[in-house]
Amino acid sequence: MATTGTEKSSRGFSGLNTYTGQWTENEIIHLLKRTMFGAKKQDVDHFKTMTLSDTINELLNPVAALPAPPVKDYTLDATVQKPDSTIAIGDTWVNDVNSDGTVNYYRRVAFKKWWMGLMVNQDRSVREKMTLFLHNHFSTESNTVDNANYVYNHHALLRSSALGNFKTLTKNITLDPGMLVYLNGQVNTATAPDENYGRELQELFCCGKGTDSQYTESDVKMAAKVLTGWRNDSAKLSSYFTASRHDTTTKQFSAFYQNKTIVGRTGATAGDLEINDLMDMIFATNEVAKYVCRRIYRWFVYYEIDASIEANIITPLANIFRTNNYELKPVLSALLNSEHFFDPAIMGAQIKSPVDLVVGMCRELNVQFQPDSDYVSNYGLWNFLVNTVSNMQQNIGDPPDVSGWKSYYQSPQFYEIWINSDTYPKRVQFTDYLCVNGYTFNGKKILVDGIAFAETLSNPGDPNVLLNDVLKYLYRIDLSASSKAQIKKDILLAGQSTDGYWTDIWNLYVSQPTNTANTTLVRNRLRDLLKYCMDLSEFQLI
């Protein structure tokens, strides 16, 4: 499995060169856990027949169409001022304008449920993980944006751009109605400039706070002036430019931007022209590509970026990013195909985010949801998962603030920030709950079915093979032979020492599945096995 002492020292050098080493389940599972939510056996089997290069190509080129939008899964009582009555249950609301606060609240909740469903049912590509990456990067809070249409449209923009051009996306985000609300762009005018977006555009979205990111307080003010005049049309659900609100003076930037001046424009096209200048100016610095590549590295690889990683990974990745005019795919391709990405040194070193934990567990253990037609039940079940990750401090759609989740930027702990005395017990409580009780909504239950999972494995009747298979998919750090022997004996063999004990009850289950007493025995053994494996700290790592 992933990281043992001997493997660690077997490879002394790793950089962006294409990885040419062994391509086994170990490498595939590592790749899938990092680029998708969990490594599902079916996906591992699928890629086993392909080369690394073809695998990465498939992951970076999703064939699935963009998903249908969220629907109305709720009913509202008559106290709502503008009830959502024009939208039938099961129809989407995303193009329907409604200013009522209660309606928008229910729509935003429905949006989050829908998003969770997309992650649970993700296609075999990096799109879902990149969408979440972009949400963390261009962080907005749906509670602040308030208008559910804006929330959805903002999200749809991230999703459709997940493997597209980062510079284009940055411009589109700048004019996105949701972002214009979130960072006050819509109230940024020549007479009352608001620096909020102009600051975050540089500090959080493009240049970062590294030592070489030398934009100034004056640059913040100048960028704010460039961005004056944009506002939202809530009837059309789009942003538009008002020339009379625009600052037409010349904007002078600092030496970090080569003392660039952006000429003040007038008229209807002024806003667009000046934003293009602003984007060209910001993306002409070396720092944007470096900053974004560091963010990508911390998302897919590990948080520690020392001088060696900076020189041998970040700098060349940033060169690729610039050379390809800020297309995301070439960067991801270079990173995911690299020796460094498959270096055992970085395998298993990520602490799962709450979404990795919750969605990954549902996918890896084939937790069954309802058919698409029963969206009411599914939305309710997905809602449980939304609340679960939120309690573990990853509220999708509502990160803590505009800088996103701390685990991806706060030194020195980074991923470790996910884990504290409040959140860690909640993780264990959740995996236990889905193994033992299960969660029920609308009479439909989600529960880990250990027998069904075991049946997908190579030789579930042999307790040694069974345990090895389970650990292969759930862990990145292999257990010692003595620990495996202990788990096998204590759980699968119920304290006895002959493997035949388990083989016998498994075989009896296969030949007589209706033998309730025996099937219960098998089911409980597998439940306890999976529960225990997910209780150990190793399960928190990918």
């Binding site: 002394g12 109230v187 608001d194 620096e195 298993g348 884990i419 005395s421 017990p425 264990v428």
Partner: protein, 526 residues
């Protein structure tokens, strides 16, 4: 590239010493090195508790403490959100400033001598970024300095070295600091690990399994695995004492309903009364980023900012009343802070943009009452960019509380704040008990030269009897026993130490004589 050095992952992260040796900065692992734990001075004796109240988003200080002294300029600067003079809450003994009309609770506290107001707290070259400014307040860094540890984390590391190894123990049975909520603040981050425990409900903890534990591999994965296991063990151990403390308290004074800050402070009071020895508690309350519509357009004394201040004021007042009810009022002080204040001039959207200095409140029975500092001067003609300049460095407030309330010796302050800061009259320093005289007070071991290259001379003062001098590396390995002798009499001795074969870095000379132990840090350079 060359494989990264895994050795460093087995070591705690070092604290950067302020001193620069031969132009290179040295990382010292002294405070986190396991062997040093037993050798450091005894933990300061105090039963004092500090409660940090974080107001996130950047509270508008100018509308919190209204500068009555410059009232007409204030109105001029804030035409759309200025508070009517007649509605400003007056403070006994001063006409220079008053409180926002919604802060009646804190007005009462002030007039009863339980609230200290410090004007214009900030720092040079203020950051207007929420994130950077928050980091600065949490870490006590300079504006242009990045620190990875929090100021209270460093304080706790000073008092309880080597945490979490060897904890809980007989000296400290309880969590070092507690944050109410599910996230743990950077302020509680120690040099290597977080010193904070996060709690949302002190009555309920889910059991964690500390089952089979194979040795962690020597990789980044192993590093994170070790962290997870340690967090699991700590949580289990501390959950028991926290639950027990909570169960000890069955009655508290009333708190306002639907007030998230009050809910948090109620838990804090309960745990203090319940018997935890925890010294630092942190609570936080958000929503202060009032870029627009911060006040009602027809009545500026109500609205968004007023509601925020009302909740803060009512929560703190209820907490203070509860401390009295629980008879622990003598032991607790609290402090409010926010990452920055806001601009002097309000903006056209009826709000205020990111600014600089702002007032701080320190509350409790043992604070020195009154207003500290001059009223911030509001110019007659304000521009969009005018800020309240800082009068007091926020680290002076920290230094004063550390010294006068948590009883840190002035000589040791620099270990926590990394620089010297002026002490201010904020807390009654008489409440610090006399610290145990410490045997390590006089210097018993030293070396010269230090730093050294090929050799150095170790000098020590023995009282006679068995005397041991060991040299250790940062991993705690004894690499040399310099002295292991029974001296017939007291005296000063010098022993040469050849160091040509040592790699550059930090070493410790550990001195042991009868019951006295001392450790001295030495630095080898090339």
């Amino acid at each position: 590239m060359k494989r990264r050095d895994f050795l460093k992952n087995t070591l705690p992260v070092g604290i950067m010493l302020p001193s620069i040796v031969n132009g290179m900065s040295i990382k010292a692992f002294g405070s986190t090195s396991p062997l040093l734990a037993s050798l450091l001075m005894p933990t300061t004796e105090t039963d004092h508790v500090l409660v940090l109240v974080q107001l996130t988003g950047g509270n508008d200080g100018v509308n919190t403490v209204i500068p009555l002294e410059f009232y007409s300029n204030y109105v001029n600067a804030r035409t759309n959100i200025a508070i009517e003079e007649s509605k400003v809450l007056t403070l006994t003994g001063t006409q220079k400033v008053g409180l926002h009309p919604s802060m009646t609770g804190m007005q009462t506290m002030y007039n009863e001598g339980k609230l200290k107001l410090i004007n214009s707290v900030g720092y040079p070259q203020p950051s207007f970024s929420h994130f950077r400014a928050t980091d600065i307040w949490m870490t006590a860094a300079d504006s242009n300095q990045q620190l990875d540890s929090g100021w209270t984390g460093r304080y706790l590391n000073y008092e309880y070295p080597n945490f979490p190894n060897g904890y809980p123990n007989s000296t400290m049975t309880d969590p070092l600091s507690i944050q109410i909520g599910s996230v743990t603040s950077l302020a509680l981050q120690g040099p290597a690990v977080s010193m904070g425990m996060s709690i949302t409900n002190p009555n309920s903890f889910y059991n964690l399994i500390n089952g089979l534990q194979d040795p962690a591999p020597n990789t980044y994965a192993g590093k994170e695995l070790t962290f997870l296991r340690s967090m699991s063990q700590q949580t289990q151990q501390y959950a028991t004492v926290v639950k027990a403390a909570a169960a000890n308290v069955t009655q508290q004074a009333p708190y306002p309903a639907k007030n998230n800050l009050a809910d948090q402070l109620k838990i804090v009071a309960r745990l203090i009364k319940g018997g935890l020895k925890t010294r630092i508690y942190m609570v936080s309350y958000g929503g202060f980023d009032t870029h627009f519509n911060q006040a009602d357009t027809t009545d500026t004394s109500i609205g968004n900012h007023a509601n925020l201040l009302k909740n803060v004021s009512e929560a703190i007042k209820a907490f203070q009343d509860d401390l009295k009810f629980l008879s622990i009022e003598d032991r607790v002080i609290g402090m409010t802070f926010s990452e920055f204040g806001r601009r002097v001039k309000s903006n056209a959207s009826g709000g205020t943009d990111h600014g600089a200095a702002a007032p701080m409140f320190v509350f409790g029975k043992n604070i020195l009452p009154g207003v500290l500092g001059d009223t911030p001067n509001i110019p007659a003609k304000v521009t969009d960019n005018d800020n309240v300049p800082f009068q007091y460095d926020f680290r002076s407030v920290y230094a004063s509380i550390l010294t006068h309330w948590l009883c840190v010796k002035e000589a040791d302050l620099q270990q926590v704040l990394l620089k010297n800061f002026q002490l201010l009259p904020i807390v009654n320093s008489a409440t610090c008990k006399v610290v145990n005289p410490n045997q390590s007070g006089s210097l018993l071991i030293s070396n010269y030269p230090n730093p050294f290259t090929n050799s150095t001379t170790v000098q020590f003062t023995t009282a006679g009897g068995h005397t041991l001098v060991q040299i250790m590396d940062v991993l705690g390995r004894v690499i040399k026993v310099l002295v292991d002798i029974d001296y017939p009499a007291a005296g000063n001795y010098r022993v040469p130490f050849e160091t040509a074969n040592l790699v550059a870095g930090v070493y410790y000379a550990r001195f042991q004589n009868l019951t006295v132990q001392q450790v001295h840090t030495m630095v080898k350079v090339n």
